[in-house]
Symmetry: C2
Subunit: 436 residues, 2 copies
């Protein structure tokens, strides 16, 4: 056992050292050479469709034996169409502008020093992810394009598919004249190996965990390397007293039901007390139609009770709802459930969002600009919307052209992370003999 962990340690240290060496080469490559590698990779992925499907079958067989959930098996499954789509994605990243070398600032000092702040790769980026094998290609190409060496650690469910993809990446890099160790897949999903990697702050500069909360928490607690976390979100919409009712309904229903299992869908709805009676009935029917369960606070419950009481006389079917506990407002359902609370003012809505939410994506629906501005200033979230669905928090929707994830941290990158967010910067200082 001790021998085995010693072996793992050597393996991981070797990978990290080679990645560091490769990163120094990558940082000096021009865009053309990186793009050539991406074009070759796209072609090779399509050409290897048969081999990839065969390796994917191995993972699918193991998934069957392990009785994985159907949704998980579905995400794991390659088809010729999915492989073609993956190759298209690679070509799209090749077509994006190279972030490396972009000048961010220029400072001229009285002593004649000319200081330029330019974008450079971070160095070595470790990405820890689960299940979906197309993430392997996504991470590899975004790191390559941004000049970073990548160390990838995928989930065990996709192990064989990932190994096959890594092989194709190595071939493409080699053909393009790039050190193939610029992208390395850790050939084991052992938790010990991951733990070793997280100690190697001498060689690895950034860790991006993508996946479930348990994985992310494990990484954040054990890493000596800076981590950019990608937790999912507890998002909310606040319907203000001056909201357009139709717009409010449309935004809330979209933000809740367009896809329920994603980080930028909403879990909480706050409604100004003055408009609850007018907004809730139609909204409740819309939720009903979509199969969304409402969990409401006592104030909202009283409004619904009254509506139902009024409706009974006219033979209107009752609106269904349950009462929320305090915990419901902290919950990330990722399901057809929404917690509803009435508030007295925009300030109450701001306080509720800052209290219950996860500072991911939150929105206000209002026709009042002053109220909107107050909300946007006060809500401490990565993305704050005025009169739009929270579902737009996404690298593609932001026009970044690509996305490695959505950071829930506040340092370095916040919100959608594209190629630029995979970069650091350095200062180039041009002098003529200046001394201090």
């Amino acid at each position: 056992m001790a021998e085995e962990t010693e072996h793992l340690k050597e393996l991981i240290t070797g990978i990290a050292k080679q990645a560091r060496a490769a990163s120094l080469e990558l940082a000096t490559l021009d865009a053309a050479q990186k793009n050539r590698a991406l074009e070759i990779l796209a072609d090779r992925l399509v050409a290897a469709t048969g081999d990839l499907l065969a390796m994917n079958q191995k993972d699918l067989a193991a998934a069957k034996a392990l009785e994985l959930a159907p949704a998980m098996v579905e995400r794991l499954t390659f088809t010729p169409e999915r492989i073609a789509k993956m190759a298209d994605g690679v070509r799209q990243v090749a077509a994006l502008p190279d972030p490396v070398g972009e000048e961010l600032e220029r400072i001229s000092r009285p002593n004649g020093l000319d200081i330029r702040k330019v974008r450079v790769p971070i160095g070595v980026v470790g990405i820890i992810f689960e299940s979906r094998p197309n993430v392997t290609i996504d991470c590899a190409i975004l790191c390559l394009k941004s000049g970073n060496a990548a160390i990838l650690r995928g989930g065990k469910e996709a192990f064989h598919t990932n190994m096959a993809l890594a092989e194709i990446i190595h071939e493409a890099l080699t053909e393009a004249g790039i050190n193939p160790l610029a992208v390395q897949l850790i050939p084991t999903t052992d938790r010990w190996a991951l733990n070793e990697l997280l100690k190697l702050d001498k060689y690895v500069h950034c860790i991006i965990p993508r996946g479930g909360e348990t994985l992310i928490r494990f990484v954040a607690e054990n890493s000596r390397i800076p981590v950019i976390k990608h937790y999912t979100g507890v998002c909310a919409i606040y319907i203000d007293a001056e909201a357009d009712a139709d717009m409010a309904e449309s935004i809330v229903v979209n933000a809740k039901t367009d896809r329920v299992g994603v980080c930028n869908s909403i879990e909480n709805l706050f409604i100004h007390r003055d408009v609850a009676a007018s907004i809730l009935p139609k909204l409740a029917r819309a939720f009903e139609a979509k199969g969304v369960e409402m969990r409401v606070d006592h104030a909202a419950g009283r409004v619904l009770e009254k509506i139902n009481a009024g409706g009974i006389a006219h033979g209107v079917p009752s609106i269904d709802y349950n009462y929320a506990t305090e915990d419901d407002f902290y919950a990330e359902y990722l399901d057809y459930i929404i917690a509803v609370k009435l508030v007295d003012s925009v300030d109450d809505a701001i306080a509720a969002i800052n209290l219950y939410g996860s500072a991911h994506s939150d929105g206000i629906v209002t026709g009042n600009e002053e109220t909107a501005k107050r909300f946007m200033l006060g809500v401490d979230s990565a993305t704050v919307y005025w009169n739009a669905s929270t579902r737009f928090t996404d690298g593609y929707e932001f026009g970044l052209g690509a996305e490695i994830g959505i950071s829930t941290d506040r340092l370095h990158a916040r919100g959608p992370m594209g190629l630029r967010e995979l970069c650091s910067y350095k200062y180039l200082i041009f002098g003529s003999g200046q001394v201090k």
Copy 2:
């Protein structure tokens, strides 16, 4: 004992929660109110000179009893002049532009969404520092100006002085109508308390350790909160074959000897083999005059040997030098010692700097623009100089107006950190009912 740690845990959690609440208020303050607090603080510091000196005496008495090194006692000592200077520093920060609210980017999407990326405070910043009490004021005012709540944990040597300073800060905040818990000093230097703080990622968003390597490593290894490290530096100058000899000498001597105990002074010197014989004699005499010991590789040693042999015939006193071990090139002397190695090319110099250095500040002296560009691209350091001393790596020299430190990390902030680097950003998205 268990009771005591439980008490500490409660104390620290309380501080962190209060800081979080204060940070939400701070984030919405306008520049005028923050600046008013700074002006009041400056006045109060001067007015409290007598009290501060009295509290400082307590620390100095303890320092005497503990037989602290004279340099440390010197750094700990307040004088009326130092207090006045500190107050001036506070007024200077008040005069700087407010980074909060600055628009960083604007994206207009085809669907009509208007996306604005604006600078916002990080939230709650924990700063761990040692000995010098003026750091307490520096950190407090930079956090306040950038809208961050600060949790300060100073060294035990300055405990009484720091407590007195914290009291004055609270009074100034209160007088300016700002929540005084926006700046809190942890009223204990217990390591357990620090450890508790490092776990509170729910309330604290960033930790900045400033001090010795042991402290920084402890923080990096134990923190669940993102850390921006401030290690010191192993910096170098490379004298190219096409360097102006006088400029090279002036830059190298300045970068080594202007102040030896600072992070941006050099520890290594790399010289192109072709110019070693012409550059080394004068440079060695200059080092001699400043009391700098040269530790040279074998190639440089042979050159010096030959020079000495030639000089003996003419009665020239020998140049003193010692041979370097491999470890010498990794060493951070912070002393009157320099390690010297000959290299064959700019590429060798780049490789040596990337191998031995700490990616802090490195420079080339050359008249050849192509060589300089190759060096600036290839050297993977936060600041890379062409024909200037590395001693300019400093927030003030960069024109930032203030400095919380010099980050040796690659994420978020790299190199000198001013007010902007104490900020995060958020996206404000203006819609007209868009749904996905």
